[in-house]
């Protein structure tokens, strides 16, 4: 496996992690608004 493939894998993993964080953040926000 070359370094470019590893970088693409890291980039995809980071994108996935941050997309999930933004989803969780939106879910928390909607629950906070329903107080």
């Amino acid at each position: 496996m070359n370094l470019q493939s590893i970088f693409i894998a890291v980039m995809l993993a980071l994108t996935g992690i941050f997309a999930y964080l933004i989803y969780l953040d939106a879910k928390v926000r909607s629950l906070e608004k329903n107080e």
Partner: protein, 219 residues
């Protein structure tokens, strides 16, 4: 909005740091390409130590004020710190395979870091074993204060005992070339933003759960 800015900054810094460490830096003379994992290993380890230090301050703050907000933040900080500590141990073991010839060699740094992981895992076990919210918060705070003593022990282990693990930060600065220091700094900043973002999110979820709202629903 503020949280999303933190996520965005973390994403940009971690992506830039990964690009610099994986594609821009030249291979190291003795270790070759595998040294690049160091740019993930070091920030994870440093931020996990920071997370445990923050939990110490928040545990003391809880015992002084009895505000549940501090308990939420302290336990969240430990959860994130433990996650980072485990990831640092795994990346360290991969690095060690190439540098020392074995994934695990009971080096003082490896052993003391494993002890830190076990101590903070037992913190989480303690929390899950207590039903009453006030008792849980009080005992966790006391445990969190004593658990922190393992962190400086792990940090100083390479100085206290004979260790193969290099001491990166000395009184004369960092033992790294300038371009490596820049890549490392970018990764550390990215990891710090990630820690702050996760801490804020986790404590908000805990606050909601304290108010009786179910965040994680069974499907």
């Amino acid at each position: 909005m503020r949280n999303r800015i933190i996520y965005a900054l973390s994403y940009i810094f971690l992506l830039t740091g990964s690009y610099l460490s994986l594609l821009v830096l030249k291979p190291e003379k003795t270790l070759g390409e595998v040294y690049r994992i160091f740019f993930f290993h070091f920030p994870l380890a440093i931020v996990s130590y920071l997370a445990f230090a923050v939990s110490l301050v928040l545990s003391i703050a809880y015992l002084r004020s009895k505000k549940m907000r501090f308990d939420d933040l302290a336990s969240s900080s430990i959860e994130i710190g433990l996650l980072f500590c485990v990831l640092a141990t795994i990346t360290g073991a991969i690095f060690s395979k190439q540098a020392w010839g074995a994934y695990w060699s009971w080096d003082p740094r490896q052993t003391t870091t494993l002890i830190v992981c076990f101590i903070y895992a037992s913190y989480l076990a303690l929390r899950s074993a207590i039903e009453d919210r006030e008792t849980k918060a009080r005992l966790s705070a006391i445990f969190g204060i004593f658990a922190f003593f393992s962190v400086p022990l792990s940090y100083l282990s390479t100085r206290l005992w004979f260790s193969l693990h290099p001491t990166m930060i000395t009184s004369k600065g960092m033992k790294l070339e300038k371009d490596m220091q820049i890549a490392l700094l970018v990764m550390v900043i990215g990891m710090l933003f990630l820690y702050v973002g996760l801490l804020s999110l986790s404590s908000r979820i805990k606050k909601l759960e304290r108010e009786g709202k179910t965040f994680y629903t069974k499907s």
